[in-house]
Amino acid sequence: MSNSNDYPEIKAPARAGADGHVPRDAAACAREKNIAATGKEPVSVYVIAACGVAMLAAGAILGSAGNLFDYGKVFRDGYKRTPAPGANEGPPPKAAVDAYMAKGKKVWGSKCITCHGPEAKGDGNNFPSLVGSAWALGETERFSMIVLNGLHGPMSTGKTYSGAAGMPTQNPNKDMTPEELSGVMTYVRNNFGNTKGDVVTVEMAKAAFEISAKRSKAGQQVTTEELTADHLKALPGKIIDPKAMVDPLTLNPVFAGKKAEAPVIAPPPAK
């Protein structure tokens, strides 16, 4: 690299003096050293060791990579969320009556309010009021049959309402779930001025579905006669304390503290 004769196309300018001095313009270049041929030292073992450490780290990172080049997977194989260390998951439990009523309020707002009105007072002619209604506040099975199957004809007060074709039926599991049924029943019984004070549980609602399906006129509306004849009783199911804590979503009882079981109250005497 030091012999410019290898590159004949560059001619040295004629200004070079015979004594080896170069013009000041080339002074910086004149004092430059030539680049010597690259040395032949071997790669030091310390460098190799350090590179080995880096390769271990990289290998550890790759270990988390799962199957390489598996373009179809976006999440880690078999990933399930690890719970937060030391934290409670899920919404806090609520008193049963509040939880059921919260659920029922939504059902009311979507299904019942259009006919029965926001205060459940009906409109006097077409739709009955539920405030203080004997059938709403009475036996749970009768009430549940009305909700599930609809009603036409004279009410508990004796008056007949002419609204539409009567109360519509609810297709089980398509229009209403047991949670929703129990919720709306509890809501009506404990709201709008009603203060029944009890909770219709999911278990009872499930029983109601079965009873409703087994009716001889299953799928059709009930009539007053049928209600009086067949359904004048409480729905089967364990009665719970309205203040017992339940999970607001599943409505399952939650055992707060170290209590072994939710308190059970003896069923009220049959009416």
Binding site: F69, Y79, K80, R81, T82, A84, E89
Partner: protein, 231 residues
């Protein structure tokens, strides 16, 4: 080494990586197969396709132009990659009044409607994946999330709860004008003198519309649902 060999080796070493991590995944992800709900809730929409309302494209453009991605991320990482899911209101809500725990990881359909996912580079501000949901349920903002956002964008430190916020004020997104017969309904609650009010400009409106649409807590089908099995 001849030039040809050199360029060949260089092309190979770069090209293989280029194909493997850039070209192939890019073209594969263009045709992402939609994930079906095996338990279709209704016959028409049997696939997971979260809809977004609001001015997503325009708002995303304003978001990008004003560099919000420099301080805010939009990525809720799975638990093996970070603690984002443990926060009560980043991946969804821990206590959504209707659905309970709606928190979930970001998935590939969460950026529908945007051209470039603003994943973000640093977190000087909170993650914004579920900002819309967070504002709806949080005390200070649930009454009117848009108004809260306008006030925040105008000057974040005006909010006493965010006195040490490092979010910059964006007064240039707003217009200062004279009050006409009545104050504009979206005028900010900022005192700018007699008879003057601050109203959001078009960019502010687009941006706020976009931010309110940031709700990435839709229920996901089983293939994308990573909640641990119930005991």
């Amino acid at each position: 080494m001849s030039l040809r060999t050199f360029v060949l080796c260089l092309t190979a070493s770069f090209g293989i990586a280029w194909l493997a991590i850039i070209v192939i995944p890019f073209f594969e992800m263009r045709e992402l197969a939609p994930v079906p709900y095996p338990e279709a809730k209704s016959t028409s929409a049997g696939i997971f396709f979260p809809k977004r309302t609001g001015r997503v494209m325009t708002g995303a453009r304003v978001y990008a132009e004003n560099g919000c991605y420099q301080c805010h991320t939009q990525l809720v990482r799975p638990t093996y990659a970070g603690n984002d899911l443990y926060r009560p209101d980043w991946g969804g809500l821990k206590m959504d009044p209707d659905r309970g725990d709606t928190r979930r990881e970001t998935n590939a359909w969460d950026f529908n409607g945007e051209k470039f996912a603003q994943i973000g580079t640093t977190r000087m501000g909170p993650d914004l994946s579920n900002l819309g949901r967070r504002l709806e349920t949080s005390d200070g903002s649930s009454a009117d999330p848009a108004a809260w956002l306008y006030a925040h964008l105008y000057n974040p430190r005006n909010n006493p709860k965010l006195w040490n916020s490092t979010c910059p004020p964006h007064p240039f997104l707003f217009e200062k004008r004279e009050v006409k017969e009545y104050r504009a309904p979206d005028a900010l609650a900022v005192n700018v003198g007699e008879n003057m009010e601050i109203v959001p400009g078009p960019d502010a409106k687009a941006l706020v519309s976009y931010l309110i649409s940031l709700k990435k807590d839709h229920p996901v089908p089983a293939a994308l649902n990573f909640t641990p099995a119930e005991k």
